[in-house]
């Protein structure tokens, strides 16, 4: 069982790279792009987070959706694009667990984006420690 779970993770990882690189086509107009090396780093980071959060991703990754949701934010700059995405995906999985999976991916992303833009004004620490925590508490 454990070995099969590991294989499952590796299989999904392979497919993910291509889909994330495809996002560059949509994000380029906002001045945001990931290199192949950065994409690899982001995927590795995502899998690290998944392991730490005790979660498994099967058919597709959340990263393309995360990228599309946040790419038009005025608070994200090219220089810290990768770092921001890494933190956002960490926050995403953390709150998937915290919400007991009561929020769908879309609902959580929408909530994160709205708080990030309107309440936190790009402050990821505030988003993680305060805003989302309060929302999840009310679920």
């Amino acid at each position: 069982m454990e070995k099969r779970m590991e294989l499952l993770l590796r299989e999904a990882e392979k497919q993910e790279m291509g889909k994330i690189l495809d996002c560059n086509g949509k994000t380029a107009r906002f001045g945001l792009e990931l290199t192949k090396e950065e994409t690899k780093q982001l995927v590795a980071c995502e899998y690290q987070t998944l392991r730490e959060c005790g979660r498994v991703q099967f058919t597709e990754s959340i990263l393309p959706k995360l990228i599309e949701t946040f790419c038009d934010s005025a608070y994200i700059q090219r220089e810290e694009y990768l770092e921001t995405l890494e933190e956002l995906q960490e926050i995403f999985f953390f709150y998937k667990n915290e919400s007991g999976d009561k929020l769908s991916d879309d609902e959580l992303l929408e909530c994160m984006k709205q708080q990030y833009e309107e309440v936190c004004h790009g402050d990821l620490e505030y988003l993680k420690t305060t805003c989302l925590a309060e929302i999840v508490r009310t679920l």
Binding site: E11, R55, F58, E60, I62
Partner: protein, 273 residues
């Protein structure tokens, strides 16, 4: 290579099952949920292999998907068969006052209501507190419930081959509060039956005298464990009315043999029978 392909197919199935589980609203699930869903797929595949259909898998004649779906159908069929068996048993079910037996049996409908053949077929939901004579430890899901019901059917038939009054007297002699104990009723009755038959008495003979106990001590004192087991088996063979009954009560033979031999050694046969 073949194994790799099979694993890949299994993973695809788990992925699809996850999508159904989350209604496509979540791309990830907790590790526990993933294990549950992986277990669900493997359970159905193994269910199909139980009747020999699994050879197709080894020969590469069927895709894993087909085997999984066939296994899933078999799980559903087994649930239906278990439901029919339960309803048949319920018509003249007798608990002889045992609370554990009554409550465990009465809880079975909850299994049919809550059992999830698609997402968690390996979960039997109930703890099945009333012990039967065959270990269910290696079974799970519907297999465990179905096997337990088969055991109960064999046990009910065995108990019913004696008068209710006799059974209750034997149980009361075993313990005045037997109703509250988590003990198998069949095994208690079997002690009495084996003792009676060893003494050449009818199976439902009620009162044993001091000299009867002494004779049992002498008879079992002469036997090795294996001989005692063989002797008990022969007695049960003569007592049981069907193969299913014999197979079931045979599960008590090791305990009975050890019990009689210990009592013969310590001279406490009256406590045991």
């Amino acid at each position: 290579m073949e194994m790799e392909m099979q694993t890949k197919e299994i993973l695809e199935l788990v992925g699809e099952l996850t999508e159904r589980y989350t209604s496509k609203e979540s791309t990830s699930v907790t590790y526990e949920t993933a294990q549950q869903l992986m277990g669900a797929v493997l359970y159905c595949i193994e269910e199909n292999e139980k009747d020999g259909s699994g050879t197709e898998l080894l020969q590469g004649q069927s895709s894993i998907r087909k085997i999984y779906e066939a296994g899933y159908e078999k799980v559903l069929q087994k649930v239906e068969q278990a439901r029919i068996l339960y309803n048949e048993l319920a018509m003249d079910f007798e608990d002889y006052g045992s609370r554990a037996l009554r409550e465990t049996f009465d809880a079975i409908p909850q299994f049919f209501i809550r059992y999830d053949a698609r997402f968690s077929p390996q979960n039997h939901i109930l703890t099945l507190d009333y012990p039967v004579l065959h270990s269910q430890e290696n079974l799970c899901g519907i297999d465990r419930i179905y096997a337990w019901l088969h055991c109960i059917r064999a046990e009910q038939e065995f108990l019913r081959s004696f008068s209710g009054e006799f059974v209750r007297k034997v149980l009361e002699k075993f313990h005045p509060d037997y109703e509250e104990l988590f003990e198998n009723l069949g095994e208690i009755l079997l002690r009495k039956v084996v003792a009676n038959r060893m003494l050449g008495l009818p199976s439902d003979w009620e009162i044993l005298k001091e000299e009867d106990y002494q004779k049992l001590i002498q008879l079992f004192g002469e036997l090795e464990k294996q001989e005692a087991e063989q002797k008990i088996y022969e007695i049960l063979e003569g007592q049981c009315e069907s193969e299913e009954q014999l197979l079931y009560v045979s599960g008590a033979i090791p305990n009975l043999a050890v019990g009689f031999l210990n009592m013969a050694e310590t001279g406490n046969m009256e406590v045991f029978v």
